[in-house]
């Protein structure tokens, strides 16, 4: 009997093509759409991949491919592990990456566990642009997509051997995004020409509105200062600010100013020029390695510190307890707490962690 693969279908073209490729290869493919927010009939509902309209798109694509399809409810865990964390993170002056949280807690945890343990699936597939390989030694490796411009391996760094052994990324093997579109047309998928999803899937408009509504305490105006303490303006609350942000901070100086850090204790935002960015070292938390363990207690690597960011050569020193690490970048970089620092060795993701704070060292 062929291998049963559950494909997480968002309703978009990428995951639909992923399902089509697997079905074409003769796998026993089952489509699953994850409801991520509570059902709503409002017409201005968020255009999240986990909302009803997207579910209909996914259902139509699955029907077109002739594969079984189920809508499963993950709204509770998504609300708790993704949306709540997102709000808390912004409210505490950090900049979360909700895609990382969704992959970590929802797709490759709750969904993967369900399809394997409950529904007899051997593997899970998604429409992510990344690749999984097994080396001669039997170790599973996570690689960048063949199309580097579309690569999404950054948001998958938390996958370890257990998950990688059960994961397929069919479209990560394609040479380019155009190939995905072309395949969608070849397979006659109804969503072949659908626009790509952007932004934060569960927020219909400005994410700051959500944070403001859920965490009003983070929207108390406070001073905008230069590094020397000189007040140059007033911000509308740290919940709406991001380290590294340049526009819309609330200050009009002659030079280009970035948010260098947020001082929650004083409700202050410190801004400065590019030249004032001197931080090279960051403390990481919640570190994870695809191999299961770090290559060494101290090792050289390169780190992407934002989605689609170019990796910067670095050195990593893992804490004794194995949960945290110190990241020392070869050049200064402005990294917002809450962002993922993803460690690469060439095209391979070896792991990563969440940036907790800048270090003086």
């Amino acid at each position: 009997m062929s291998e049963r693969v559950f494909v997480a279908m968002s309703g978009g073209v990428d995951s639909s093509v992923a399902a089509a490729i697997l079905a074409d290869q003769g796998h026993d493919v089952v489509g699953v759409w994850m409801r991520l927010t509570t059902a709503t009939t409002a017409s201005d509902a968020p255009r999240c991949c986990g909302t009803d309209e997207a579910g209909e798109e996914a259902r139509r694509a699955a029907a077109h491919l002739g594969i079984p399809f189920y809508a499963l409810d993950y709204a509770e865990i998504f609300g708790r592990e993704v949306i709540d964390r997102f709000v808390e993170s912004y409210a505490s002056g950090a900049t979360p990456n909700p895609c990382v949280a969704c992959n970590a807690y929802v797709k490759f945890e709750a969904l993967l566990r369900d399809v394997v343990a409950k529904f007899g699936a051997e593997r899970i597939a998604t429409g992510h642009y990344a690749r999984v390989r097994r080396d001669e030694g039997g170790r599973w490796r996570l690689l960048r997509a063949r199309d580097a411009a579309k690569d999404q391996s950054y948001a998958l760094y938390m996958l370890r051997q257990r998950e990688l052994a059960r994961t397929v990324f069919p479209i990560g093997e394609l040479a380019a995004k155009e190939e995905t579109r072309a395949l969608a047309a070849t397979y006659g998928l109804p969503n072949a020409r659908k626009a790509e999803s952007m932004d934060i899937c569960f927020v219909p408009g400005d994410h700051r509105d959500l944070v403001r509504q859920r965490a009003p305490a983070a929207f108390v105006p406070g001073p905008i200062e230069r590094a020397d303490g000189r007040v140059v303006g007033t911000h509308q609350g740290v919940g709406g600010l991001t380290v590294g942000q340049r526009r819309g901070v609330g200050v009009a100086e002659g030079e280009r100013l970035y948010v260098l850090r947020l001082d929650l204790g004083r409700n202050a935002a410190v801004v400065g020029t590019r030249d004032e960015v001197t931080t090279r070292a960051y403390a990481l938390g919640g570190i994870s390695f695809t191999a299961g363990t770090p290559p060494a207690a101290r090792f050289a690597s390169s780190a992407a510190v934002r989605y689609r960011g170019s990796p910067i050569p670095c050195e990593v020193e893992v804490d004794g307890d194995g949960d945290g690490a110190v990241l020392r970048l070869a050049e200064p970089a402005l990294v917002a707490p809450g962002q993922a620092a993803v460690l690469y060795a060439g095209d391979e993701v070896i792991g990563g962690g969440t940036v907790r704070q800048a270090l003086a060292a």
């Binding site: 059902a39 807690y105 343990a117 409950k118 007899g120």
Partner: protein, 391 residues
Amino acid sequence: MIRRTYLDHAATTPVDPEVAEAMARVLRDVPGNPSSVYAEGRRARSLVDEARAQVAAAIGADPAEIVFTSGGTEADNLALRGVLTAREGEADGLVVTTIEHHAVLDTAEDLERHGRARVTRVPVDRDGLVDPAAVARAIDARTALVSIMHANNEIGTIEPIEEIGAVCRAQGVTFHTDAVQSVGILPFDVRSLPVDLVSVNAHKFYGPKGVGALYARRGTRCATVQTGGGQEKGRRTGTENVPGIVALGVAMRIASERRERDARRLAALRDRIVAGVRERVPDAILTGHATRRLPNNASFCFPGTQGESLVVALDLEGIAASSGSACASGSTEPSHVLTAIGLDREIAQGSLRLTVGRDTTDADVDRLLETLPAIVARLRAASRETVSAAP
């Protein structure tokens, strides 16, 4: 394609071949509009009349008391909205139970929200039974309508509609019953049952989807909901669905002919399911009344599972069943019926409804009993598995 075992006859039934043939004949050979005066129209009209007589005969009614609708939901809407509209200004009370179908519950809520009805929702006991005395207490001087289902669609409990009807009669209140789940399965005769309005739906007894009827006892005050050309004596205007109506009539006639024999056979299959499931999954909870239940309904809760997962896992093994708590859109809110009979939210989430029908065989039951216990065990094990720490 793997062999399928269909155990969701409460959701819908396969169309009887004789019904399909009758319907196809109309589609092919009867082009007329029943309202037209010429031969084609007269032909269509006579077929509608014949179907009306068949439906009436099956429930002991007069043909003039049958109003064709697009199905059970429309029949329920017509009954509730029609009576409340007809009694506007003199009576506005509407009494329902907490376990009605959404076609009744949501209509009641809508009428309430628009200030057109005062709604009283009578609770049920742990078996899903309504106490006629509680209905009596819920009725007041301005009650226009009592609407209580004959048999529950999720748990199969059969309500004491004779006693409830008697209570309504004694108080001079109109009584509607949604008999969508029971007509065609249980004996139903309006000459002995004190009911004024009855909803039926063809696809629950091997007819097509999209056609049903409302029985309205002569003299019952029920206004129209739609306005238009005045068909169905103005009670349900709109050009008649002639093929559907013909099919409803044939399905009704066949159901009457087969009912006693079918009911015995269905009850035997259901009893095998209930006994077999209880033997293999000792902590399974049979929901609904132990004996006062539809002969085709076996419904359970399996603690430690989710109905949504049960349905998916069964489907992947070739078995079609449904859960009170799951729907195609992937929402896992527990069913209002299961919470109304006092089940904990968590228990109610593990619900599964198995409903047998004419095409169900002992082999189907065997297959279910071979498959289901392993699925329940697997889901329980999966739910117990701890979530590993993610970053």
